[in-house]
């Protein structure tokens, strides 16, 4: 706990804030995107924007696993449970993501689907062992952080000869999403003038810092990888301001206590053994992005839920009023959405950004909406 306290020191935060204010050029704007939902959450949870000068602005990125999950994938999971009678297990945040026909996994559960929340892939495996007569599907979502545990579970299922366990693989890749943002139509038209990016924390412990090198090289933008603690964020913002001021664009690592250039090679090897690239994958907000997600390799086809329960993937457009897409691309803010806080609230989410506490809309609603309201 002492260890954590060191990263929550308010005085230190104010010191860094003073440096940011002193070094930021008042004649210009700084627009930085924090890629991760974990960062978005930390900013809102600790009220960090209050510590930044008005010309240093943070834009929330798409690094929230449930926020980028397209409706069509949730539909697939729901149909597996309802039509094929499988036990569908997934992480808690997934349960409330709105799907087609006003359903979500949680609502499907109320209609008789056997949906279970698990804390880890191991829980899912244990369910399969406990119910040999039932099919158990693990709805696997998330970035590079959650991929290795899924790979481990598949390997274990194979070793155990579990014939009733399979995975609906929706794991996605961070670097591809960054390209998606930097190549979005708005970015090309000059809509998202990003001055730099706060790079992922936990994801980078797995993939390392090297995979971000293309951002400065190809796009001339600095990246600073940061931990999820509030002081990490403040320090990373200061480092970005300095890079911009000095005309540098490099990948810097604020999170050296956990992130190395090469990341976790063992985890990477395991992921490469079990998964291969999907030629393309639909992301919520970013559309179809090439080489941006994973699927099981043919050697592991027996554990691929998409093959075991063939259900064609049907893309479904977002709700008309929902601005999630534009928010995930960094061109709009939650308050720009007409239904924010009225029709769409954390209790009744219309779009996925309102579901997870890491989603931009939910974070703003839960922690910051008082700023939008007249006293």
């Amino acid at each position: 706990m002492k260890y954590i306290d060191e990263f929550r020191d308010g005085d230190l935060a104010r010191n860094i804030a003073r440096s940011i204010a002193a070094e930021a050029d008042p004649a210009r704007e700084y627009r930085f995107m924090e890629f991760c939902g974990g960062h978005t959450h930390a900013i809102s949870r600790y009220g960090l924007t209050d510590l930044l000068p008005p010309n240093v602005r943070m834009i929330h990125g798409p690094g929230c696993p449930v926020c980028v999950l397209p409706i069509g994938r949730v539909d697939q999971a729901i149909r597996m449970a309802l039509e094929h009678g499988v036990i569908l297990c997934t992480y808690g945040d997934c349960l409330r993501v709105p799907a087609s026909d006003g359903l979500s996994l949680l609502k499907a559960k109320a209609r008789g689907a056997d949906v279970r929340m698990v804390y880890s892939t191991q829980d899912a495996l244990a369910l399969a062992q406990k119910h040999p007569e039932r099919q158990v599907v693990f709805f696997a979502i998330g970035f590079e952080t959650t991929t290795p545990p899924t790979a481990v579970a598949i390997e274990q299922a194979r070793a155990l000869g579990l014939a009733n366990f399979s995975v609906l693989c929706c794991h996605v890749l961070t670097p591809a999403a960054i390209i998606g943002i930097l190549e979005s139509p708005e970015a090309k038209a000059g809509g998202v003038a990003l001055d730099g990016m706060v790079g992922p924390a936990h994801v980078s412990t797995v993939i390392g810092s090297a995979p971000y090198e293309f951002v400065p090289e190809r796009y001339g933008k600095p990246v600073v990888i940061a931990g999820f603690e509030p002081l990490d964020m403040m320090q990373a913002i200061l480092m970005l301001v300095r890079q911009v001021n000095q005309g540098r664009a490099e990948v810097e690592n604020e999170f050296t206590r956990a992130v190395t250039p090469d990341g976790n090679r063992k985890a990477q090897a395991l992921v490469a053994k079990v998964f291969q690239l999907r030629p393309e994958f639909e992301w919520r907000g970013l559309g179809t992005v090439p080489d941006s997600a994973l699927k099981l390799r043919p050697e592991y086809a027996a554990f691929d839920a998409e093959l075991r329960f063939p259900l064609p993937y049907t893309p479904v457009p977002d709700h008309k009023a929902c601005e999630c897409g534009a928010i995930l691309r960094g061109v709009k803010e939650p308050r720009d959405c007409k239904v924010f806080g009225t029709v769409c609230t954390p209790e009744t989410p219309l779009g996925s950004c309102m579901v997870s506490s890491e989603g931009a809309c939910a974070a703003h609603y839960t922690y910051g909406r008082y700023k939008d309201l007249a006293a």
Partner: protein, 351 residues
């Protein structure tokens, strides 16, 4: 010739026996369960009558009666620091006490699941008896039902409490006014994290212990100071964050609290961190939230800290004017944010 026998009874097998449907059927088995288990531990002058209800003395002239009820379902039934039995006693005593009343009597109704171990039931009833004795609030009437296996979760306990409210004492959720001080009697989140770390098998080196306790003694100590107490509440399910929001909306005010002032046990903070939970929304079972007139703060804080259950009491902040009834918090970093109502259940994060 053999000796004459006193009686032929086969006593309940409290070691290996299990609850069966007959224990709720109203016949001899049920009578035996009541006699050998409930009455034996909980016995008092009212319960010993064996009647359908308890005849209780009228309150003193000018006093009013306060009544509260609470159903208890908890898994696991036994956790570090307590069990469903003492929890059921404390919970209802606290509901009566936070109304400013002196808790007098309790009733207890049990729903048992067929197959539930009698040894566990005995442990639970003993724990209830001990808690009631310690609090000085007897269980004066009760009921037992048995449901088929699979239709319950071992045991559910509903307790109802009656207390006496002194003439002229007015405490309630609508009475917070801008300028009032907000206090809490000690560290938050202990009960919820004790349950959760037990359930998730987190296996911390030093287990987190539930704070379950009866608060009427602490409350009496505070009221005895004569301070102008506006609101008392025990922040159970939903935690401190939810309780503050309830009071803010009942009173039509806002609140501003300091994150740095929140008393937090380091093990709870670490467990919350690990699971990605916010201790503001984690349940407590032995803590008091208190709102009082600002000039009385020192008096109230002194009374709280002078009691064993309030040693870590702290002033959290102030009641403010706010048309939107927001509870706001100055974070440890110096920024500001809302402490909102909890949405659904707190779920551990995955990223």
């Amino acid at each position: 010739m053999s000796e004459p026998r006193k009686q032929y009874v086969r006593p309940l097998d409290l070691k290996h026996g299990r609850v069966d449907m007959a224990h709720g059927a109203g016949g001899k088995a049920m009578a035996q369960l009541i006699h050998e288990l409930f009455a034996r531990h909980l016995g008092n002058e009212w319960l010993d009558q064996g009647d359908d209800g308890a005849v209780l003395p009228a309150p003193a002239p000018g006093e009013q009666l306060v009544m509260a009820t609470d159903s208890h379902v908890v898994s696991p039934l036994f956790f570090p620091g307590g069990d469903i039995g003492c929890l059921a006693v404390h919970g209802t005593i606290n509901d009566v006490a936070v109304m400013g009343a002196r808790p007098l009597w309790l009733s207890a109704a049990f729903i048992l699941e067929e197959g539930f171990a009698l040894a566990d039931l005995a442990r639970i009833v003993e724990s209830m008896a001990a808690a009631a004795r310690k609090a000085g609030v007897p269980i004066v009437t009760g009921d037992t039902k048995v449901v088929e296996r699979g239709k319950g979760d071992g045991v559910f306990i509903t307790t109802t409490g009656v207390g006496a409210l002194q003439a002229g004492r007015r405490i309630g959720g609508q009475r917070a006014r801008p300028g009032d001080a907000i206090l809490v009697s000690g560290s938050i989140g202990d009960h919820g994290m004790a349950i959760m770390s037990e359930r998730e098998g987190l296996g911390f080196a030093s287990p987190i212990v539930s704070d379950t306790a009866a608060l009427h003694g602490l409350i009496e100590a505070v009221l005895a100071t004569g301070a102008d107490i506006r609101v008392l509440r025990d922040p159970t399910r939903g935690g401190l964050g939810t309780t503050l929001n309830e009071i803010a909306s009942q009173s039509g005010v806002g609140m501003l609290i300091e994150e740095k002032a929140l008393p937090l046990n380091p093990a709870v903070a670490a467990a919350c961190e690990f699971l990605g939970l916010d201790p503001l929304y984690v349940a407590n079972e032995g803590k008091l939230v208190l709102i009082c007139a600002e000039p009385d703060v020192e008096k109230v804080l002194g009374a709280l800290r002078g009691h064993a259950l309030g040693r870590e009491a702290a002033v959290l902040g102030t009641v403010v004017e706010d048309a939107h009834h927001f509870v706001q918090m100055t974070t440890s970093m110096g920024g500001r944010r809302i402490v909102d109502w909890l949405t659904g259940d707190q779920l551990p994060r995955i990223c």
